[in-house]
Symmetry: C2
Subunit: 234 residues, 2 copies
């Protein structure tokens, strides 16, 4: 049986955990250094959070950055390797758990802010997060996503949803086994919010100051109707 795209994403992070941790901790990724790291910190702070879940935290830099700013933050990631690196830098603030496992838990902690920083890369896995996000979001909680901007990410391909081949072009040659990723148009992102009763309250296109091209897109949504029943995760 061939490896599923979703499993390939998981395997790629496990494979690249050491090299990725090195790149992040040495601030080697130009767009993160120039734009997107500060962008996501500012986006979280703009929500005046008291308890944050860093969903898909990787080696954990954002969790640490928020803790440094006196914000109670917890990070989770499916990659046990990345969480190992995270715990070595700041123990007891991280757990290795997949999105699927998280939402299957009987008792789930609630957060007033959930942030996904370049961590929504799949298809079904992302739809699972949207369907279940209100299980972990407190009343009026904020759901913040930073991801690849479709304008930039589309390249010369057709502007339609679908799986695309991954690439580490522009990253360190120490990174291998690039995973596929699921391209979504902006309209599709918008529908993920609206079809899951999430109100989009902010939309940002942070520019790379060198090129004046969007380095990412940021969505901030809030639970639309606190009285709505939770959606089944079936």
């Amino acid at each position: 049986m061939p490896l599923s795209y979703e499993r390939h994403i998981f395997r790629s992070w496990e494979t690249n955990a050491e090299a990725w941790t090195h790149e992040v901790r040495h601030n080697n990724i130009e767009s993160r250094k120039l734009v997107t790291n500060q962008t996501i910190i500012d986006a979280v702070l703009s929500c005046q959070p008291s308890r944050v879940l860093d969903l898909g935290c990787g080696e954990g830099w954002l969790t640490r950055a928020l803790i440094d700013r006196q914000i109670d933050t917890f990070g989770i990631d499916a990659s046990t390797q990345l969480i190992d690196y995270a715990n070595r830098a700041s123990s007891d603030r991280y757990a290795a758990i997949s999105y699927e496992e998280l939402f299957k838990k009987e008792a789930i902690d609630k957060y007033d802010t959930v942030v996904c920083n370049f961590s929504l890369l799949g298809q079904e896995s992302v739809e699972l997060v949207f369907r279940n996000i209100r299980k972990i979001l407190a009343t009026k909680g904020a759901f913040i996503i930073q991801t690849i901007h479709p304008v930039v990410g589309c390249g010369s391909e057709q502007y339609v949803d679908g799986w695309r081949a991954g690439s580490w072009d522009g990253f360190s040659p120490t990174l291998t086994d690039p995973a596929p990723w699921y391209f979504r148009t902006l309209e599709s992102w918008f529908r993920l919010f609206s079809s899951n009763q999430l109100d989009l309250v902010d939309f940002q296109e942070p520019l790379n100051p060198t090129t004046n091209i969007p380095a990412s897109v940021v969505f901030i949504a809030r639970v639309a109707d606190e009285n709505s029943p939770l959606v089944n995760d079936g």
Copy 2:
């Protein structure tokens, strides 16, 4: 004193009224025929309107298309020439009045749906519409805009707001004196809604079926809080 960009837009429509009317009525504009005419009709119908204002109606095709579907529709445009053509096709459903004059009127009719189909081309004139739209929108009314998609419209220039040179490339050679237009990023469009207490309830990127590139972008917003005071138009 040089012609202002906003005045240039007005002059261009007056100059091109006859040629433009010919192009629209002979269905000569490929993207309109293939995609955007049906898109805007569907968008209006999706709001289940009873009384529609076609703001910047040009020679009036959309007003007529909605009247044909038994929807009480009125069209206004700053261009007296275009409104002349509109009235010749369907009298008593159109008026020549600028956005500025419309909002200065003492008694303003209310509509449950206001639609701007490729008619928000300027800077101050567009901001004026957003600041005042609630004066002409009934409670829970819908504000529908179809415009150039920034992804496509940006071309090779920097992705930042600003006036850009106009062009009739791809249109009939009978069209002359292309007017400048004010480019806005998607983030800027989003902020026009949010800063004027309008909730974005739908966002569409209708694709050209030949190229699979967005032919336009459609925003549908509703008045966010019916109890909020009207904003000054100063």
